[in-house]
């Protein structure tokens, strides 16, 4: 629609607040209001989901309740909600459209306070002949601090914002013209974003994706260390959230970094000495094993709601004992996990690993591949891995056991990791199609495998719950129905595999890979 909601304009304050006020009051008819000081808290997820969308979540304590505002950086609002308790997870919010809108954005991630502001606002209303407010100027003195700390930083200069009133375009123009004549410069980011960047210099930067830029002529051992260093960084970033159980994704990102590390050590052969590689492979395998059960339980708990919906309404409550059982197990596994991550074994692993990665590579290495350019080593490995997936995939028939598909899944994973490590060495547009078809193939195989695993687990849980005496007949029957359902879904995935593999192993893809990686 034309004339949508007008947007405020932020300025950098270059003159003293009081003289600015005086100048504006001299030019227009005005009233001034000093608002009581208030405290605001900004929230975001660990991976800055709101920041990355150029949005913010701001909580304001008002008469015992918290009013939460969800705004875009340009000043327009997405929505707001009143809360009685703390803002943590999407599912803690009262049901309604706010929750429905924010859930796909933050999903299962926890919201943390990222910035606290103590603000004193002076609001100058510009009036017309009828005493109607036609524009506003807000001058805000603020103190900011990092949540959890005591000290407030005074932010200078103060924040100046010209606020339009809808439908009074000329008045706003006159105000902004005056401000510019007085020497104020427009600011391209809002004061909230500026404050956030002061308190959280790494705002918006965390990503669980591997973002590494390799030089194709770099030595393979050095290049591999760069990859591993970034993976270690990701692990360490997620460490505290993992043993602190802040949300399920810390553990997930931690484990993925761990898995990629193992994969790199295994697949990029011949660049490091075998004893070192063995030692660290064992270490990371231990880490994977000790964190595995907790992650598996997280996956179930995340999925269980969806599964519950597939059961007839009368049977849905029957799954509650299962959910309780899983939650109890999860709590127990968390204790095991937390102990492991605070153990001296873990500390030593990380220390040694860090030292290994920081040690400079030997000037001359006895290992064949260590000094070869990474482009060469990477391409060889990828080509080999690709051929393997194609070979194994072509051997699959409708009679092949589930284990055979499982193997293809593992080979696909190996290929995928390699492509992720070495992405920067190849033309992105060429890789795009390959990665996309690989991803679709993996999704299908992943679902197939998940369904297999979950059927087994449900059978196992059933047995364990029975022995613990917490399984009622109706619960077991519902779980049985669930198992049947899962088996049926698994059959569908197998059919999907044929199509997806066909797309992946298509001659055009094979040619492309030959060109990119097969080389001479």
């Amino acid at each position: 629609m034309r004339n949508p909601r007008p947007q405020p304009v932020d300025y950098k304050l270059a003159v003293r607040q009081d003289s600015l006020l005086a100048d504006v009051r001299a030019a227009f008819k005005t009233t001034l209001e000093t608002q009581p000081s208030r405290e605001l808290v900004f929230y975001d997820t660990f991976d800055w989901r709101l920041y990355k969308r150029r949005e913010s979540l701001r909580g304001c304590l008002q008469s015992g309740k918290t009013q939460v505002f969800w705004d875009r950086w340009d000043g327009t609002s997405v929505g707001s909600i009143q809360l009685e308790n703390r803002l943590r997870f999407a599912w803690d919010l009262p049901p309604g459209e706010f929750r429905e809108a924010i859930t796909p954005v933050i999903e299962m991630r926890r919201l943390f306070p990222v910035l606290e502001i103590r603000s004193q606002l002076r609001l100058l209303s510009i009036l017309d002949g009828r005493e109607k407010t036609v524009a506003r100027l807000s001058l805000e003195r603020r103190q900011i601090r990092e949540p959890g700390t005591r000290k407030w930083k005074i932010v200078s200069p103060a924040a100046v914002r010209a606020l339009p009133v809808r439908g009074y375009v000329k008045a706003f123009q006159e105000l902004t013209d005056l401000l510019e004549r007085l020497g104020l410069q427009r600011s391209d980011i809002g004061p909230d974003q500026e404050a956030l960047r002061l308190i959280q210099p790494e705002a918006g930067q965390y990503s669980s994706k591997l973002q590494i830029h390799l030089d194709p002529s770099e030595r393979s051992d050095q290049a591999t260390k760069l990859i591993l260093q970034q993976l270690l960084k990701t692990m360490l970033a997620n460490e505290e959230g993992t043993w602190g159980d802040w949300d399920s994704e810390f553990l997930h990102d931690f484990r993925v970094a761990c898995r990629r590390t193992r994969s790199a050590l295994t697949q990029i052969k011949g660049v490091f000495r075998a004893p070192a590689v063995d030692k660290f492979r064992k270490g990371f395998k231990w880490l994977g094993d000790v964190t595995g059960p907790a992650r598996d339980l997280d996956v179930y708990l995340l999925k269980i709601e969806g599964y519950r919906q597939t059961l007839p309404t009368s049977a849905r409550a029957d799954l509650n004992p299962l959910i309780e059982f899983l939650k109890r197990r999860r709590r127990a596994e968390q204790k095991v996990l937390a102990r492991a991550l605070q153990s001296s074994r873990y500390q030593k692993l990380i220390r040694d690993w860090n030292r290994f990665l920081e040690d400079p590579v030997p000037h001359r290495s006895s290992l064949k591949k260590a000094q070869r350019p990474i482009q060469e080593v990477a391409s060889k490995r990828i080509w080999r891995s690709f051929r393997r997936v194609v070979k194994k995939g072509l051997a699959i028939t409708p009679e092949s056991p589930a284990e055979a598909l499982h193997q293809v899944r593992i080979d696909c994973k190996k290929l995928r990791y390699l492509l992720e490590f070495f992405r920067s060495l190849y033309d992105p547009s060429e890789l795009k199609q390959l990665i996309r078809s690989l991803k679709e193939l993996q999704d299908c195989l992943g679902d197939f495998n998940d369904l297999e695993v979950q059927q087994e687990s449900l059978r196992r849980f059933g047995g364990e719950m029975f022995r613990e005496g917490v399984a009622t007949d109706s619960t077991l029957i519902s779980m049985g129905q669930l198992i049947d359902q899962l088996e049926r879904l698994q059959g569908k995935e197998r059919e999907k595999f044929v199509d997806r593999f066909g797309a992946f192993a298509h001659p055009s893809n094979q040619e492309r890979c030959q060109t990119l990686f097969g080389g001479k």
Binding site: M1, T133, V165
Partner: protein, 254 residues
């Protein structure tokens, strides 16, 4: 977005005061709120010092050549906007009659504002016309300020009967307005007529303080925040706010 219309076939029952005060409370709470002044008298517009003038008049509004957004004015209060009345609205129902689907026109205009506001309060003109029918169809809730007399209850019953069985009838929320406890009929009716109508618990008393809104030109929470009528409106808003139909305010994200 939820549209709440203050409606009563009778005039002078407190429709405008209801709209102005509840909309203010809604905005203060943090909801983007719009008041649509559909009454050619333009009282709501007057209270907010906004000229009751719509460029091109009612005809242009319906023709949508300019778009509804162009007519909206911000009030003096954050998150509270107003779509002013125009004297030409006295012809609105005639103009609507010429449209292809007259009763859906209003709904269409409201829908254009779906993304921008959580609540739209409509100040209706008294009487029952094609315009009123259009409001019935487009609104989610009909707030019916009712003076506690037998005739008022009869009118309410007529309204209930009229809307029964209509598809897309709004939720009817009647409440007692301008209650004068010195009058025995007011006392009796406001006490006993709660059932079988789904009257809201809160009753708004008659008060000269509310009449002063025309002088103060502000919602009553601004110039007499602790007064009895001010508290009554706050309690009224709380009650309305948590009705299931109203509770979920609509959000649009990208």
């Amino acid at each position: 977005m939820k549209a709440l219309a203050a409606y009563n076939i009778k005039g002078g029952v407190g429709k405008t005061a209801t709209v102005v005060n509840l909309a203010y409370l809604s905005a203060r709470e943090g909801n983007n709120t719009l008041i649509w002044d559909l009454d050619p008298q333009g009282a709501a517009s007057f209270y907010f010092r906004i000229k009751p003038k719509v460029k091109g008049g009612a005809r242009k509004l319906l023709a949508r050549r300019l778009g509804v957004g162009d007519h909206i004015r911000g009030t003096d209060y954050e998150r509270l906007d107003l779509l002013p009345a125009d004297f030409s609205y006295r012809h609105l129902d005639l103009l609507l009659d010429h449209q292809k689907r007259p009763k859906q026109e209003l709904g269409r205009l409201l829908k254009a504002l779906n993304d921008e506001y959580e609540f739209i309060f409509v100040d209706c003109s008294p009487g029952i016309t094609l315009l009123s029918e259009a409001v019935f169809r487009a609104a989610d809730v009909l707030l019916v300020p009712t003076i506690p007399t037998t005739l008022s209850l009869r009118t309410l019953r007529q309204l209930g009967k009229h809307l029964k069985g209509k598809k897309r009838a709004p939720l009817i929320l009647p409440f007692f307005s301008m209650v004068d406890r010195r009058k025995s009929m007011h006392r009796e009716i406001s006490r006993t007529a709660m059932a079988p109508y789904p009257f809201l618990q809160t009753q708004v008393p008659f008060s000269s303080l509310v009449e002063r809104m025309g002088l103060a030109r502000e919602p009553i929470m601004r110039y007499a925040p602790k007064s009895v009528p001010s508290r009554a409106y706050q309690s009224l808003w709380e009650e309305i706010r948590f009705q299931p139909t109203v509770r979920d305010s609509s959000l649009k994200t990208k």
